[in-house]
Structure formats: C-alpha cells, structure tokens
C-alpha cells in the first residue's frame, strides 16, 4: 500500500503541472488585467499603469510569464496579490479558518440529515415518505444556491430575525471572548444550513439505494431466518455494508472543505476562500487566483487518493496494488 501511495503521489506532479498550465493560460487569455477595467479619468495615471504592467511582466508572452510563475511557485513564492498588495499566501491564509468553519458545520448538517433520510428511505422504499424525501432532495439539488440563500436571508434574517444576514462575526467583539465565539456560531448557522440542506441529495440517494440492494442479499435473508430483529438487521448488518460507498465521498469533501461555497459565501458576505476566489477572478488578481486553483487541485487529487486508500482499509475485498 505504501508503494501504491507513493506511486499515486508521484503521478500527481505531471497532472498538477498540466492543470496549472491550462488554468494559467485560460486566466491570462481573459480580456483585461488587474489594471484595466474601470478608468477614473481624474485619478488614473496611464504612465503608472504602463509601468506596472511592464514591471509585473504582463507584456511578456504567456509562456514566458508561465515559466516565471511556475519557477517561483515551486520555490514557495506564490506571488503578491495586486488587489491587496500583500503576499497571496497571507491573503489566503487569512480566509481559511472562516471557510473551514463554514464547511465543517455545513458538512455536519449534510451528514446528519442525509443519514436520517437515507436510512428511512432505504428501509421503507416506494412509500409516501420515501417519495417525499426524494422529491425534497431533487428540489434541493435543482434550486440554485443563490436563490436559496436570498430566500433564507429574507425569511430567517429579515422577517423572523433569527440569524444575522451577513458577515462571519458581530461588530466590535473582541477576539477570544465568549460572546465572540457565540457570535461566530450564530453567523455561520444560516449559510451552513443553506449549504448543508441543499447538498443532501447525493448522500441520501446513495445510502438509500445501497440499503435497498443490501436488503435483498443472502446474509440478510439468513439473519431474518435466524429471527434477528428488523432494527438490528438494518442498523447493524446492512448499515455497515452500505456506508462503504459513502467513504468515497469523504475524499471529495476534503477539497470542498477548502473551496467553500463560492456563491453562498458571496451572498452572505462571508469572507472565505470562495468569495476570495470569485473576487480574484473578476479583478484579475492572478497570484491569488492561481494559488487557490493549485491548492484546490491538489486537495482534490489528494482527496481522491485518501478515498481510495480508505476504501482499501474498510473493505478488505479491495486490494490496492
């Protein structure tokens, strides 16, 4: 397995290089750059813009720029944000805690609700309850998250006043105090609920289908024949087998943890990686955009590896070699 892991890790390198080349070229081919766009005639100095473009090398051919960028990148220099005028690493690191927090809370919601719904639907397939759950899941899958976000804000923040509508923390609270943490949790709940409850579809339906399938297998019939109680059959024998495929998702979730939710974060003005990514693309902040892209690519590949390894561990029938 160690050999397998190393092999997989090594094979990531060319893949990452390829991804970076494609993303970099696409990014540079987008019209405009960090200095283009809105011009304020009384406040914009064309000489300065030209100077900066020259200094940052925007006038060089894309391939030259790519070579410069990648050689800095592998040496650990991720570049400087043209918007924030700080190292890209700093800008990103500042946002990671918020994103992680939001992602973990929303994943907990997803897991809990998907688990309950999946178990119920799997145990009582083709009943009214199952159909309702399926309907809900596909609706949630179909509704764009920005619509869900705005509706949630209007109902829960503006009408009912249960949750704050924007930001990640209350204004003026000192870091480290009890109120600070309470406020953090209060701010994360609504976006996390929107994200979590809208994302249950795949988990629920996978779990349901697996439970139904396993319910028809021989070992279940044997257990029934022995007189094992229905609840024990479902909660112990079937569930254990049905969870295995879900582990694959865990790998994907690693990337989700960081990538956050681009749109949801923006609507809730939740300062995380997602909103930063969106902003860096629209403002052509190449250093930040490329760093986030590479981070996410790596985590996605890494997550896949973790999923494969976990699969091998929980299901001894699968051999990784």
């Amino acid at each position: 397995m160690l050999q397998y892991t190393i092999r997989r890790l090594l094979s990531m390198i060319p893949l990452l290089l390829l991804i970076s080349l494609v993303v970099f070229s696409l990014a540079k081919m987008m019209p405009g750059d960090a200095f283009g766009g809105e011009i304020d005639p009384s406040n914009t100095n064309p000489q300065y813009i030209e100077e900066m473009r020259e200094k940052l090398g925007y006038n060089d051919p894309i391939i030259v720029q790519y070579g410069r960028w990648i050689s800095n990148f592998v040496q650990g220099d991720f570049g400087k944000s043209t918007v924030y005028k700080k190292p890209a690493v700093e800008v990103i690191a500042q946002r990671i805690p918020n994103t992680l927090f939001l992602a973990v809370v929303s994943l907990i919601f997803t897991y809990v609700f998907a688990f309950i719904m999946g178990m119920y639907a799997g145990r009582k397939p083709y009943t009214l309850g199952d159909n309702l759950i399926a309907t809900y899941n596909y609706l949630a899958l179909a509704i764009p998250s920005f619509v869900a976000g705005i509706v949630a804000i209007y109902i829960f923040s503006f009408q009912l006043g249960w949750f704050p509508f924007s930001g990640s923390v209350g204004i003026g609270l000192e870091e480290g105090t009890f109120e600070y943490y309470v406020s953090k949790v209060r701010h994360v709940l609504l976006p996390a609920l929107v994200l979590g409850l809208m994302g249950t579809a795949s988990y629920t339906q996978f779990l349901r289908n697996d439970i139904i399938e396993n319910g028809r297998k021989d070992f279940v019939r044997t257990a029934r024949a022995k007189g094992t109680s229905e609840s024990k059959i479902y909660n112990k024998h079937i569930l254990r087998n049905s969870i295995i495929p879900l582990i694959t998702f865990l790998g994907f979730d690693i990337a989700t943890l960081i990538s956050g939710a681009v749109i949801t974060e923006t609507i809730f003005t939740f300062p995380g990686i997602g909103s930063l990514f969106l902003e860096s693309v629209s403002r052509r902040d190449y250093a930040v955009m490329m760093s986030i892209t590479m981070l996410l690519s790596f985590l996605t590949l890494f997550g896949n590896l973790v999923a494969d390894l976990l699969y091998g561990i929980v299901d001894p029938r699968i051999r990784l070699d």
């Binding site: 283009g36 005639p41 406040n43 300065y48 924007s166 629209s282």
Partner: protein, 575 residues
C-alpha cells in the same frame, strides 16, 4: 476519477468567469457620488451626540488606508471618514481652503501655503508642513510604488527626483512649521488641482523605507489620519469599525462611531428595512423598492457622471501616442445630428433609469461652474422626421428601396453599435438605441451580436476594435472641470479618436494663463461646449443622478456631486 477532477476544475473556472461577468455591473461607472442638499429631510430634530451608524458598500475594502497608496473606491470611502486634505471641494465643485490657505505669487509659479495651528493627527502629534512635504517627497521618490506620482510631477524638480538625479524636490521650500512655498515647473491654471493634498504622518512612518511603506503595518493595519474618525478594528472582507476622534480639529464629532460594512447588493433593501444599514449609494433600479420603505429616504443630486454614445473617427497610434482620424463613416455632421434626434432620451431615462437622470446636450455635467446654460445649446429634442430630413440633406437616401439609407456614394450603410453586459436594463437600452436608428432608416446592428463582457469591452475600446463603430460609454469626471483628459485631440480616453482643431484650441485656452481670470475661463469652456454641442463628436445622452438611500434615523448628511462625506463630524442620530 482523474477525468472528473479536471472536468470539475474546468467547470469551476467557467462558472467563475461567468459570475465575474455578471458581477461587473458594479464597475460600469454609474457610480454613486453625489450633489445637492435636501433640506426637507434634514433638520427635523436638534443635533445630539452619540450613536453609531452603518455605511454599507457592495465591494470589500482592500485595506489600504493611506490615499497615496490606495486605488479602490471603497478604500476612498473609508478615507473619507479618516483622512482630510488641505483643501476641499464645495457644492459648485470649486477648490476651497480646508486647514491650509494659499497665496499665489505674481508670476503664478509659486504658491505659499499657510497651515492652521493645532490640527492633530490621530496619534496626538500636531500637523505641520513637514508632514505634507514628507508626503510630496515620498510620491516623487524613485522607490515609491503607488499610483500617484502624477500629483507631484508638475512641482519643480519632482521629475529630477523621480529619475534619481536629485535627493529632494527643488520646488519645495519650508519657511516655518506652518508655512511652505511650492514652486511649479510651468504656469498652469490647474496646478493646485493637480497637487497632492494629503499629508502623511511623518512621525508614524518614521524609519520605514519608501519601498516598504505601502505594505507596512502603519499603512495597512493601524493607520493615522486627520479626519473625524479613526480606524478601530478591521475584519478583512467584512467590516471596518471607525471610532470618534475627540481631538478632531473642527470639533468633536457627534457620532460615537461609523461601521463600514460589506453587503451583497441583493439584500440591500431588506437590510435597510430592518435598520441594519443607515446609508448606502444605490442604483436607479432600487429606487422603487426603497421608496416603499417608511424608515428610509432617498436623496438625489446631479452628479459628475454622464453617459454618451461614442462615434468612431479613427484609431490611436500607440507608437506616437496620438489619435489619427482615418475612419470616415461619421464624417457628416448632419448624420451625427440625425442620430441624436432619432433617440427619445426622456423615454429611455424613464424606462431604464427610473427617471433618475437628466437629458444632457454636452459632456460637462451641469453641477460644474463652467457648465453652459441649456438655452445656449441645441436641445436635440426627439424628432425622427427632422432626423430623416437631415439625413436626406446630407445625401443619405434609400436608393434600393430596402427601407434603409445608402451613403452619399450609393454604397450600403450600416452601423455596428456596441454595448457592455450588465443588469437587465442594459439589454433594453441598447435595443432601444438600435431601434431608434433603424426607425430613421439607418441600419444598425449590435456589435458581436450580444452585449460584450465588460473587461473585453474595455480592451476593444483601448484597441479601437473595428466592431465598435458606435459604442455606449459613461464617464465620471471627478471635480476638475477640465475636459481635455477625455476629449483632447491626443487623449488616450478620447475613445472615438475625434481630432478637431477648434476643439484643441479651446481646450488649451481653458488651461492657459489667461484662464486665471475665472470669467474668461468659463467663457472659453462655454464656447467649447457649444462647439461640441454643434459638432456632436459623441452623442451625449444623460447625466446620471447620484442616489443615496439613508435611514431616517441618520441626520445631518450633506450630499453633493463630490460625495456624501462633507462634514461627517456633523452627522447625528435622531431616534
């Protein structure tokens, strides 16, 4: 699985690009600056102390607190609370002394500035001219990496310092801690307007090399300014908390503090309704929703931005930095006038801007003191018959009977009109313009077949793309009335590349020594506006109004064309 990884990344990128395109309407230049006092809404109660108000913005600040390094509009809004310039701009957009007065020498080259005594920085230091000289020297330093060198380049010796030939700027002479003489390279009417007006806290920045200053903690995290409020706490991407500065030189501010909060524009109305935000610049599209709220008033003012249709006359030669008139499609003045007569501007304003704009017939917004009277200008009132007559007289007639005119040589005539993408109203107004021109028989098509993504559109304008024969544009002019940056013969931002002798002569006259006589300067610019109004090198459409939504609890706000931040120390809360 690998395939799906790459695929998901590509999808994410595509999505991001798409969203970026949607997002760009925030940068379309229909900015929310402001103009005129609304007496009815203010002064309902006596001003009193205390309270905190929230100013909302839809873009996150970059967190650069020294104006010499900042570039974004949101950072400028925060600086409007925390910093203050040596001069300010009044409602007529004239430059008036703030904490410094100035005298101009006989030869008009030397300005002697006298600072008020007792003006305090947030850290308790007293402001002296050294702080200002420090700022000017920094801007001219070869290692300075901010965008503002052009604000000192007219001072004598600043260029030499920038090029490393001098250690300090020759034209600055400190007389005493409150008096400084600044000598300029050349006599120019707008030397003052183009002089950097923001001192830097010299003591606070002590020991930092110029090349590190822009990234230093002193600029980025604990800034020191002169304004009525000081930065207390910043949560990046979310909010900035400002607190009252008790030693503010014009007197203690009434409010305890101001929160600058970032919100998504889609929830602005709800946030206003709930009293979570107190003041925000708004778009015409939001007026209807906000008017329905009882606790919110809308204040409007004539701003300094206008929209126009640019017409192409040539291209820009990037090697010589000159504009070359070599495109003849719009050479006929009658044609250009006909194109403007064809457009029903009041109807468009009602349909797409909720009536919150004024028809413009020149490109000098009427808030400026140099603006020409409407009676002196041709009004170009909507008249398609007149447009058709003008076309006919210029030789544009339909010879082949297809319903569209041919050019005077009998060749098919067609205009390709471009517009950038944005809110739904953009689709409507571009179609309205195309329809108007088709109605008078001038065949018009939308360039590239659809609205163009904003960054791409700017690129196309910069590069004189052939598809943009006529194009929609907007400018926000700032407070300097001189239009030569936008319409000068060789100006970079004269996107239509209109080259005209009378134009340049008049623009130069407006900046000449004679223009120190204010009446003469105004007369020159009125002359220029009449020329523009007659020639129509671009078709002026309307001046945008600056609109603000303000919660009724917030009083004492004075709005003008420059912005909403005049005398913020007089803002107060009435419950």
């Amino acid at each position: 699985m690998k395939k799906s990884t790459v695929w998901s990344l590509v999808m994410m990128l595509v999505l991001a690009v798409f969203l970026a395109a949607c997002n760009n309407d925030s940068s379309t230049k229909e900015k929310d600056n402001s103009g005129k006092e609304d007496d009815s809404a203010t002064s309902t109660t006596e001003p009193k102390e205390g309270g905190v108000v929230t100013f909302a913005t839809d873009q996150a600040p970059e967190g650069v607190y020294d104006p010499a390094y900042a570039g974004s509009a949101v950072d400028a809004d925060i600086q409007g609370f925390t910093t203050e310039s040596i001069f300010t701009i009044n409602d007529e957009l004239e430059y008036i002394p703030n904490y410094a007065k100035w005298d101009i020498s006989e030869d008009r080259l030397t300005y002697t500035f006298t600072f008020e005594k007792g003006v305090k920085w947030h850290n308790g230091e007293e402001l002296t001219v050294d702080d200002w000289v420090f700022a000017l020297e920094t801007l001219a330093d070869p290692a300075y990496d901010g965008p503002r060198f052009n604000y000192v380049e007219d001072v004598k010796g600043a260029k030499a310092k920038k090029e490393g030939k001098a250690d300090s700027i020759e034209g600055i002479e400190v007389v005493d801690p409150y008096t400084v003489k600044i000598t300029f390279e050349k006599v120019k009417i707008n030397n003052l307007e183009n002089l950097w007006p923001n001192p830097m806290p010299k003591k606070h920045y002590e020991g930092i090399a110029v090349k590190d200053l822009g990234e230093s903690k002193q600029v980025r995290e604990n800034p020191v300014g002169l304004g009525p409020f000081k930065v207390k706490k910043v949560v990046a991407g979310e909010y900035s908390e400002l607190e009252r500065f008790d030693d503010y030189w014009k007197g203690k501010p009434l409010l305890d503090g101001i929160i600058v909060k970032v919100i998504d524009p889609s929830v602005a109305t709800g946030a206003f309704q709930n009293g979570e935000i107190d003041i925000m610049g708004i778009r015409p599209q939001s007026v209807k929703e906000l008017t329905a709220l009882e606790n919110v008033r809308i204040e409007e003012t004539n701003g300094v931005s206008y929209s126009y249709i640019g017409l192409r006359f040539g291209h820009r030669d990037k090697a010589t930095l000159t504009n070359v008139a070599d495109f003849d499609k719009f050479k006929s003045k009658e044609l250009r006038q006909a194109l403007l007569y064809a457009i029903n501007r009041p109807a468009m304003i009602d349909a797409f801007l909720e009536g919150k704009a004024t028809v413009a017939n020149t490109v000098i917004p009427r808030t400026f003191w140099i603006a020409a009277e409407e009676s002196e200008l041709n009004q170009y009132e909507f008249n398609q018959e007149k447009a058709k007559e003008l076309l006919k007289s210029a030789g544009y007639v339909d010879k082949d009977g297809d319903g569209f005119v041919e050019d005077p040589n009998g060749q098919p005539f067609k205009i390709s009109f471009g517009h950038y993408a944005g809110p739904a109203a953009f689709e409507g107004r571009s179609q309205a313009i195309i329809q108007s021109w088709n109605d008078i028989g001038v065949k018009t098509e939308l360039a590239t077949g659809s609205l163009i993504e904003f960054n791409l559109y700017n690129d196309m304008k910069d590069n004189d793309d052939a598809a943009l024969e006529a194009f929609f544009g907007s400018w926000s002019t700032g407070s300097d009335p001189d239009p030569s940056g936008l319409w000068g013969n060789n100006s970079e931002w004269n996107y239509g590349r209109w080259v005209d002798d009378t134009n340049q002569t008049l623009l130069d006259a407006g900046l000449s020594v004679e223009a120190f006589d204010k009446d003469m300067r105004k007369a020159t610019y009125v002359e220029w506006q009449k020329h523009f109004n007659e020639e129509l090198p671009a078709l002026p459409l309307w001046e945008n109004m600056d609109l603000y939504g303000i919660n009724n609890r917030l009083q004492g706000v004075h709005i003008n064309a420059v912005g909403f931040q005049t005398d913020v120390h007089k803002w107060y809360v009435a419950e």
